[in-house]
Amino acid sequence: MALKIIVCAKQVPDTNEIKIDPVKKTLIREGVPSILNHDDANALEEALKIKDKYPDTHITVVSMGPPQAKDMLIECLAMGADEAVLASDRALGGSDTWATSNALAAAIAKLGAFDLIFAGRQAIDGDTAQVGPQIAEKLNLPQVTYVTDFEIQADLKSITVKRALEDGYEVIEIKTPCMLTAIKELNTPRYMSVGGIFEACKKDIPVWGAAELGVDPDKEVGLDASPTKVFRSFTPAPKGKGEMLEGETEKDVARKLLVGLKSKHVI
């Protein structure tokens, strides 16, 4: 029996210096190059590793985003995913995590039966780590977050994962179908392959709007349906410029550092 895996991926701006629209309080995406979110690349890589071992595994990547998120999905296909679907519609714009997980859960449900959902822990733009777990709740699936090690038994049903905690880890056994969120320690994502690129660009990536997803634009998705309201956002004041210490030897510099810290009563 072939495994069916869903991977949730997001296109994110490639920068840590994100600019925020002062009026809408949302991210400004214009002029910032977009990439596949890092943790999502780990999620996809783990699915691809399963496919390396069990070649009849079928991987579908699901994303929600503007039409240009198709480029990120092409990248996923060029890495080796079989199929990709984009949830994209003006009605989905401004969705918070709750509304986003409504749309993604609907997309996954529409795709039919599956064994496993892999998502990244969180996206580097929003950093919420909520969408994966919410999808699991909405699809009534068991979930394990922060997966740092993954092993599936030959029966393709029993999975053993290692879950990273702040001060250690848990080893958890779980049965399919289930939802897992990946962290970067899980693996090193592969590159696209040249052959993969030429195949991926020929593939059709269906775009599903609110109607195709069967979600209510007034109650389930979009800015108005989102319970999270951003009141205010701000850029923290930059820290003062650091002081560079110089000296003839390392010992000199260390001495200056100690003197400086003592004079400021840090130590």
Binding site: Y191, M192, S193, V194, G195, G196, I197, A200, C201
Partner: protein, 380 residues
């Protein structure tokens, strides 16, 4: 008219740049210093399809095109010219002539191993007394009825010490001069094949440049590539394509040198301001940017024509001639812009300047390119 790259080509650039920065750049200075062939990166290049880009999937190629191949060699060479030429010599000079001139049996036997990168390829035309004058072949192939017996040697063979499959030229009928040259597919494992001197070079020091020695080498009858006497045509048309690869290597070297130099100029301060703020130096950069872009247009056009199956030899010659001179000029000026630091091995421009020189020499010197271009201008 459309100057934009196809989506596939954009993705190939993105992918190869990422690969080059993460896998190739970190070892580029070391393999140069140690004169070491970067064997560890060949399986990685193979895995991601970089060793069979313009060949169909039925031969385990990537199913890509020549523009993507050009971009690939450019991006690899941007950080390491040695790695760029491994890809170029393998693809243009070994896999391509087999793909273009091979029988179905030859293609089925040799291309999957080459296009997948399981085996590397090389090309043997140059001999001690047959450089630009390629017609002066002294390697002889004699028809022994059930096999060919080849004696002679080839020098300066890129990938020579590491490749397992070669396309080589040998004289089968000396009286016919260039029409007496034939092409053969030769395996390293053939009896009578051996590796001679490994060259100690100024640049592309990690590249394996070797002498191939054939002593009573027995080559199966069916390994002749094309018909007897086709060898010169096979070699010349192979080099037409090879020049796109070497031009791309030169282009990559120039772009890489300029990129690191611009970063350096933004950081380096003299006379109380950044080098990047000094007009005389900015003008130097402006000239280089313009020339690099012109070289890119020539080369991409050559690759584009090849993809469209239109005559491209003149364009490849112009692209290679121009890009190699731009690479030499750019790297020399980038060393100048680095000042004394640029002359040290702490900065990559020193290596890039040494690497650039070879692009004016191999796969046809600049002078040979001019013969080709003038030939087209005068109608021979």
């Amino acid at each position: 008219m459309d100057f934009s790259l196809a989506k596939e080509q954009e993705f190939v650039r993105k992918m190869v740049r990422e690969f080059a920065v993460k896998e190739v750049e970190p070892i580029a200075a070391d393999i140069d210093k140690e004169h070491r062939f970067p064997a560890e990166n060949v399986p990685k290049m193979a895995r991601y399809g970089l060793l069979g880009i313009p060949f169909p999937k039925e031969y385990e190629g990537a199913g890509g095109d020549n523009v993507s191949y050009t971009i690939t060699v450019e991006e690899l060479s941007r950080v390491c010219a040695t790695t760029g030429v491994i890809c170029s010599a393998h693809t243009s000079l070994c896999a391509w002539p087999i793909f273009n001139y091979g029988t179905e049996e030859q293609k089925a036997k040799y291309l999957p191993d080459l296009c997948s990168g399981r085996k590397l390829g090389g090309f043997g035309l140059t001999e001690p007394n047959a450089g630009s004058d390629a017609a002066g072949q002294q390697t002889r192939a004699v028809d022994m009825g059930d096999h060919w017996l080849i004696n002679g040697s080839k020098i300066f063979i890129t990938n020579g010490g590491v490749a397992e499959t070669f396309c080589i030229m040998a004289m089968t009928d000396k009286s016919k001069k260039t029409r007496g040259i034939s092409a053969f597919i030769v395996e390293k494992a053939f009896d009578g094949f051996s590796i001679g001197k490994i060259e100690d070079k100024m640049g592309i020091c990690g590249s394996s440049t070797a002498e191939l020695v054939f002593q009573n080498m027995k080559v199966p009858k069916e390994n002749i590539l094309g018909k007897p006497g086709d060898g010169f045509k096979v070699a010349m048309s192979t080099l037409d394509g090879g020049r796109i690869g070497i031009g791309a290597q030169a282009l990559g070297i120039a772009q890489g040198a300029l990129d690191v130099t611009i970063d350096y100029m933004k950081a380096r301060k003299q006379f109380g301001k950044r080098l990047a703020d000094m007009d005389a130096l900015r003008f130097m950069v402006a000239e280089l940017v313009t020339k690099i872009e012109a070289a890119r247009l020539l080369l991409y056009k050559a690759a584009y024509l090849k993809d469209r199956r239109q005559p491209y030899g003149q364009w490849a010659a112009m692209g290679k001639y121009y890009a190699s001179e731009v690479a030499m000029e750019t790297t020399t000026k980038c060393v100048q812009l680095h000042g004394g630091y640029g002359y040290t091995r702490d900065y990559p421009v020193e290596r890039m300047m040494r690497d650039a020189k070879i692009t004016e020499l191999y796969e046809g010197t600049t002078e040979v390119q001019k013969l080709v271009i003038a030939g087209a201008a005068f109608g021979r």
